[in-house]
Symmetry: C2
Subunit: 405 residues, 2 copies
Amino acid sequence: MNSKIEIIETGTVTSPDGFSAGAIYAGIKAKSKTGFDFGILYSKVPCNTAAVFTTNNIKAAPVQLSMERLKLGKAAAVVANSGCANACTGKQGMTDAKETTKAVAAHIGIAPEDVLVASTGVIGRMLPMDLIKASIPLIKLSTEGGHNFARAIMTTDTVIKEIAVRVTVGGNKFIIGGTAKGAGMIHPDMATMLCFLTTDAEVDIDFLRKALKQAVDISFNMISVDGDTSTNDTVILMGNGQSENDPITEDSKYAKVFQQALDKVCIYLAKQVAADGEGATKLIEVTVNGAPTVADARKIARTVVTSPLVKTAIYGNDPNWGRVMAAIGRSGVPVEENNLNLFFGNISVLKGGQPQNLNLEKASAALKKKEVPIEIQLNSGDASATAWGCDLTEEYIKINAEYTT
Amino acid sequence: MNSKIEIIETGTVTSPDGFSAGAIYAGIKAKSKTGFDFGILYSKVPCNTAAVFTTNNIKAAPVQLSMERLKLGKAAAVVANSGCANACTGKQGMTDAKETTKAVAAHIGIAPEDVLVASTGVIGRMLPMDLIKASIPLIKLSTEGGHNFARAIMTTDTVIKEIAVRVTVGGNKFIIGGTAKGAGMIHPDMATMLCFLTTDAEVDIDFLRKALKQAVDISFNMISVDGDTSTNDTVILMGNGQSENDPITEDSKYAKVFQQALDKVCIYLAKQVAADGEGATKLIEVTVNGAPTVADARKIARTVVTSPLVKTAIYGNDPNWGRVMAAIGRSGVPVEENNLNLFFGNISVLKGGQPQNLNLEKASAALKKKEVPIEIQLNSGDASATAWGCDLTEEYIKINAEYTT
């Protein structure tokens, strides 16, 4: 079937029909580089809503509340803040999360149960509820508001992360939009950081959940900034059906292109998160080919992209590929060293387990790029996976040694 | 039974009776801060010898060769070098490892099969065999040579790591000595980095193996510098029986004190390795109490001590204890948040899952120490474990961005 997936210029979460958003500086952070720290995303009709949350055993209050509210797969709004994670905050934390959704619901004129909540920032501190309650009535929702909503969720992110794609398939058109925040404590395991996805497609809730899980598995679950998994990771996908497309189910003819478009949006945002990791100067892309299983390929790709020694070598333009080998070896996947080919920044450094003659200067020069590819050929199967990460720099240390106090 | 374990001043691997050692600068490294890069450790009589090696699936040639030779539990000498790991070096790597032991055996006058070999340094480069063969005949072995042997194995280590203890028990006396190198690629899993242990006690080989495994489990397997496991990790323990003690077996009355002394030596060296991690300014000691099982306690302690965000917070004297909670949560051990107490640098920050009122300045001041303790009370059992690590600093990045080229 003919289909087209186009990127919409300056697209965001309010690009799909029927979505609006707004944001404000509520004072949750002492200061905000973006001018915002609190935002609301809203669909004028209730949405089929799927989500993936952190697998961290310690879950923030907003994660617990949103999980509970999503059991029936319906939501109409999300409220999100940066500056305070509302995690490890005991009973008061849950009360505060509920109070926030209640005030937002009153402001919009919907039921509190239809409002999801997400928070990011320092763990172990209470939300300043007086500031939040005073700010909510001042928030104006508009179809242009997605950009400010995206700014409101940023913490140490240096760039705004948003995208929207228009899908044309058969006689149908629909849009998928998304925004994400990342920067630190990024080592997804089922879900990562905050990400909000919207679509005006009408999508069956079962398929919506399945499609989101697949997209997250090959995007957010394949990035790492520092190996730390957050207590607040949340990815939410809302579909409001406003495009009046033929409803999409798992078996319908548009399921494939919907999945493709959703994958594209998630991979775009995931790479943005990886490239904008705290202190990062480069994006590292690790591809594993020829693995016995996809699980093996994923495990190796993730282990390599998480290795501090690989990350510092890339930062220093240092073709020290032995560190990649050490990471492959500790991934837990048995590998046959004599079958292994390794390309480090596109240069062949190991073939059939034998080190190749390496021109160190040339190899170092090949690493001086904004995007550095590493390819591992195992030659023991036909499964593949790709993971993304960033280099590790002095700036990461500075940012994280001076974060709260 | 009365027993005494005393630390011997300036003790080292040649403190036990019958051991000698020597070292040289062979030119494997372009330059050596310590003046040495190649060393030999030798016992005048063959030793019952136990060892623990890396669990990395990619094992360096010297690891493979030593594993093979230790099947019968006997050895008389170890040759070790820094500057080149002889890992990922294909068939030539194994040939070079064998040639090295052959030349050492000829120099000492023993069989090559009685010589073990260990290497540390850059992965993926060949040993300069001409330099090594020319150097071996020049090495002089002496009972004072342990110090230079310890210097020969250092890479980015800033301090020499060696110790010896004298054990007096019943009418018996024996000595256990040890040296280790660490610094980077330190995240033990069964074994870590290079460590050589010697004793003049006569110890049954079965008990020697068991005792070493236990000591390594609570020492080297509980430290982390950067989460990367090396291809070359090796811990070797040689017992030559020269103290003429009553032979020690698992059931003998001296087994307990031998284990205590060995634990002490291994924990001392492991803490030295953690404190001297690349770029480290502080030693972090994470103790988990009240866990359901020792395995759970170990898992949590290791996860916390490995977290880059915990490590950077400690570096910055930042009482950002939420990062410890996030690490506990992602350790894979289910925890009951409401039972949890947390002490961060000895200050109570969380009690029964409720954040405590924290004086940030006082809390920050408490972190300005060379050794920072973190205690986690789970209150869900009676198992405990302790792990050691170091802070993560700009200097780690500098060292590793500029290591090979």
